[in-house]
Symmetry: C2
DNA sequence: ACGGATCTGGAACAAGCGTTACGGTAACGC
DNA sequence: GCGTTACCGTAACGCTTGTTCCAGATCCGT
């Protein structure tokens, strides 16, 4: 036998590095060498941990979804009135903090790549529909009397609003400040409910 | 003297080709060779018409803004009640037709590139703020009694909603169908007004 | 302590990129 | 009709990219 590698740790470190590079330099700056440099290792290790650049990208994409999903799960488990939970879940999807700003920038990069990459597109669609379903489910607890169609419509409206806010904030943080986003989301919530 | 070139025509044709490539293959597929092939010429002509790949990109970006601005201007000049005009302007910014879908895909590409390209970022911010100002102006004609803060908030909400719809529709046309987008925009309008 | 399997780093490869330079070619004034 | 001049296509360059491969380093079991 011989030394054994820490595969899981490497995957995690490299995904984090991928994320950091993507947030700093965008899709164009995302090269294996840049990721390796950011992770403090060589390109050899990168391609021993992931078979492909593509696989690295997909893993980083999955990580992004897992983080947001875990955050939303925690908010739901945390309790509060249904309205408060819905508001909190929507707020965590916006770009209200520097962390979320970075996430939004990375998200835009993945989205642009997904438009011409079937595997990324499939992941985006799946994750976004899950988010939509989550909002719809929360709406059910808020307004049990509504029919399904009304709920779906309201969920689409809220998701489009919050994703649009995050997107615009990523590109123009000054105009779409945290306050502006909160106000827009608040008004949207009052309107939808 | 000798033959003289049709510089303006070339710029237009090449910008259109840039657009087409961007819509089909995304940012990663946007190469000078691909643009030249799509325009039916050689890469030499491309770089005789534009000094740089960057200049070509910026020109295509400006073209995108000019198109949408011209459309919005025409809708405003076309007449109708203030509410109808506002609704029409918002609808033309969504992804309700195949043409708008393509535009939305291209727009996402430019946006992602803008996150790490100052010149593109500056253009995005300028154009988006112009759109915001337009919506705010239309809101003024609809609801003259409102104070400026209320108007700005409503404009941010509507713009985030319509841009979010276009974005999500570009990535998942099935879920965010034209009907779903129209319903979300309609509800948002009713809510904001 | 040591053998040996296993992992990692770095060099090397082909492919594709943006860009440049040059030669042929087509049009205009005379 | 012809020389001159501007324009365009082609081929090449240097560079960076993703990927491969091998030699050296590293650690485990005995």
């Amino acid at each position: 036998m011989a030394r054994q590698r820490d595969a899981a740790g490497h995957r995690q470190r490299l995904s984090a590095a991928t994320w950091a590079v993507l947030a700093d330099d965008g899709l164009a700056g995302l090269t294996l060498r840049a990721v390796a440099a950011r992770a403090g290792c060589s390109t050899g290790l990168v391609l021993h941990t992931f078979p492909d650049k593509r696989a690295l990208l997909l893993h980083a994409r999955d990580l992004l979804h897992e983080r947001t999903a875990a955050r939303a799960d925690a908010l739901e488990a945390g309790g509060g009135t249904p309205g408060e939970v819905l508001r909190a879940v929507l707020h965590q999807a916006a770009a209200l903090t520097p962390d979320r700003h970075e996430e939004a920038r990375v998200w835009v990069g993945f989205l642009a790549a997904a438009l011409s990459d079937p595997a990324l597109a499939e992941r985006h669609v799946r994750n976004n529909r899950r988010f939509l379903a989550r909002v719809e489910r929360l709406l059910t607890t808020c307004r049990p009397a509504w029919d399904a169609g009304h709920r779906t419509g309201a969920a689409v409206q809220l998701v489009a609003l919050v994703e649009g806010s995050a997107l615009l904030a990523a590109a123009d943080p000054e105009t779409y400040s945290a306050d502006a986003q909160r106000a827009a989301l608040g008004a949207g919530l009052v309107a939808a409910l």
